[in-house]
């Protein structure tokens, strides 16, 4: 057995009913987006002067960033701590992170009132280092660049003979073939291959550092609003909570998407990689639990746990079902070895533990004092968020079909290089 599993494009038809569904959802969201650009944020959202942030920030941006944490956590495991065993999951995690951050940017283009000024943070004359959002913006921009650079070797490997162009992309076959036959083009590819091989370690470390910085700063955003936040979530240590929960969600997210992809492509889940990976999950969730529980105790916020209010109930769902339950289940070896058990635990932590946490922190915990009614997302906001997620899944589907991202299915022969 070779020590690095080979990655190959997925050889499945691209135009499936699922893909058409995604395209349909994207079309609906696109319609609302056009409306938003023509008539303003007020026309499609339920945002107001009391609730300036809605699900585009809570889900698209905050949860999007958190759930992309698989990228830096697997890259640290496989490349920095050199656990070669895990190489098979690095590429899909990297792709998810790259797409996740790309769509964070896209969502901001919809959410920002003056989206055409989105580039302002790169102007040194406007730098404002006191702002946690400034750090988030800079790190996200830098990290997105790093992610694209980290992806270049996969593109190169594709160009060097592992490219797959299923219909309807097959129309590109001719032009791509002729481009690949050009001597100068092959020279560039070879040069890039060698160059990136030499310096990639710099980007890999930078990716981890940048992730730690902005994952935590994202939590710092709400530290500014102590008087508007529910005490079950508000803590000056929100920065630390976001970092720990982001680190903890990295591997569950990899498990979640890997098993989902396996199902979608009719493959066996790679339990020999995911099983050992799952063993690490309780350790990281445990760290988060220790921090969160200590924080609740030290601040005395635990008294609100059973208030019976919407907020305290949301907290119980998030922490009880999303954090404690998967933690205890994953301590059991039997659960970790069962594909179904592992998938459920990972999904619980990903969706209830972290996605709900981000929504809770940014939307549910936020209680502006003069609000007359609570914020509920408008149909347009939901449609655009759904469209963003659909577009992300579609891009993932297309890219794993074209480029060598996912590990080759067991027992498959590698196709001849061309």
């Amino acid at each position: 057995m070779s020590h690095v599993e080979e990655a190959l494009p997925v050889e499945k038809p691209l135009l499936t009913p699922g893909v058409f569904l995604l395209l349909g959802l994207m079309a609906v969201g696109f319609g609302f987006a056009v409306y938003r650009y023509l008539y303003g944020l007020g026309a499609v959202t339920n945002l107001n002067n009391q609730y300036p942030w809605g699900i585009w920030i809570g889900i698209d941006v905050a949860s999007g960033v958190a759930l992309a944490a698989g990228g830096f956590t697997t890259s640290a495991l496989a490349h920095i701590f050199h656990r070669k065993h895990y190489h098979a999951i690095v590429r899909p995690a990297l792709l998810t992170a790259m797409l996740g951050y790309t769509f964070v940017g896209m969502s901001l283009l919809v959410d920002l009132g003056k989206y055409y000024n989105i580039w302002h943070p790169i102007l040194p004359s406007m730098w404002q280092g006191n702002s946690a959002l400034f750090e988030v913006a800079m790190c996200v921009m830098a990290y997105l660049t790093v992610l694209y650079l980290e992806f270049v070797p996969i593109l190169i490997e594709g160009l060097k003979g592992k490219l797959n162009l299923p219909a309807p992309l097959s129309v590109l076959r001719g032009p791509v073939e002729s481009l690949l036959q050009q001597g100068w083009f092959r020279k560039i590819v070879d040069l890039a291959d060698r160059f990136f091989g030499k310096i990639m370690f710099l980007f890999i470390i930078a990716g981890v550092v940048l992730s730690c910085m902005h994952q935590s700063s994202l939590g710092a955003l709400m530290v500014i609003a102590p008087y508007k936040m529910h005490p079950l979530w508000y803590t000056p240590a929100l920065t630390l909570m976001f970092l720990l929960s982001a680190i903890a969600v990295g591997y569950p997210m990899v498990v979640f998407e890997s098993m989902w992809a396996a199902r979608a492509f009719g493959r066996k889940p790679e339990m020999e990689v995911l099983g050992p990976l799952a063993k690490l999950i309780p350790f990281f969730i445990g760290l988060y639990i220790v921090a969160k529980v200590s924080d609740l105790v030290i601040r005395g916020a635990y008294v609100h746990l059973f208030d019976g209010t919407f907020q305290s109930n949301m907290f119980l769902v998030e922490f009880g079902l999303g954090v404690l339950l998967p933690f205890f289940l994953l301590l059991s070896e039997r659960v970790r070895r069962s594909p179904k058990g592992l998938f459920i635990c990972a999904a619980l932590y990903v969706i209830l533990g972290v996605l709900l946490n981000r929504v809770n922190v940014f939307l549910v915990a936020y209680k502006p004092m003069y609000a007359t009614r609570p914020y509920v997302p408008a149909i347009g906001e939901i449609a655009i968020t759904v469209a963003m997620i659909s577009a992300l899944i579609l891009c993932y589907r297309v890219i794993v079909s074209v480029l060598p991202v996912l590990p080759a299915p067991e027992g498959d022969e590698a196709p001849q290089g061309g």
Binding site: G40, L47, Y227
Partner: protein, 295 residues
Amino acid sequence: MGINRRDLFKLALAGGGAAVLDPSPNVWSSTAAPLDPDRWGMLVDTTRCIGCRNCEWACKEQNQLPSAPLAQFSDAAVFESLRRPDPTSYTVVNRFAGPDGAGRPVYVKVQCMHCDHPACVSVCLVGAFHKEAIGPVEYDAWKCMGCRYCMVACPFQIPAYEYANAFNPVVRKCTFCFERVTREGKLPACAHICPEEVMTFGRRSDLLKAARERIARHPKKYIPHIYGEHEIGGTAWLYLASVPFEQLGFPVLGHTPVNKVNETVQHAIFKHFVPPIALYSFLGAMMWIHRDQDE
């Protein structure tokens, strides 16, 4: 010079969640806001206000906001519901029940408080807000990206957004008539028109003295609290009232500026970039140490 022990300590405190317990809030000062000791203030004596709303009209005239003839502002029906500043009204007057719920109602004018340590200035990532040393908190629309973080941050919930504007939506709030006062030497429009001298414009330090004197002279009329003297580190606008401020729609706030924790953490992280560089070096070392662990 690298990061010093004090910074590390501050980072540890903030990270551990203890920074907010710092017993000396007044020692801290945001680097974003150098303050003039002679900076402006505005003392609002709510016991004098009759709810004529002339100030609302004058404000709209001054700032060229959509308005109506002055006569229409005497309509008391607007007091039926609590109003907040919006993109077309930088200030609004609300009515509350008087002392013991009886007698004359209390009218309260609301607008930007022009904080000494403004949260909006601290959070704006492109520096669209700035605090003039002389007092006003000003906004540069051309820098703004429209992220609306200022609205999340403001403890008084003041900045209002032009949600209906598709192409150039901006944040709107009271300017303290900065231009009018500095260029034309006039009083802020609201203070200028007020028939009851509810507002006194002057040096903040002088106004605090005057407010304390008024409370001392009429201990039965005023509650012994100058709202804005210490709230979140102090505000340029100061209020006197006959009933506790929480009954007049004011948020109950502590004395520590809300941006203190954030800025302490940010400064600790970005001072000479020591934590990121240390993490980078550590990870580099780990990569080197584990390089031969390939199976």
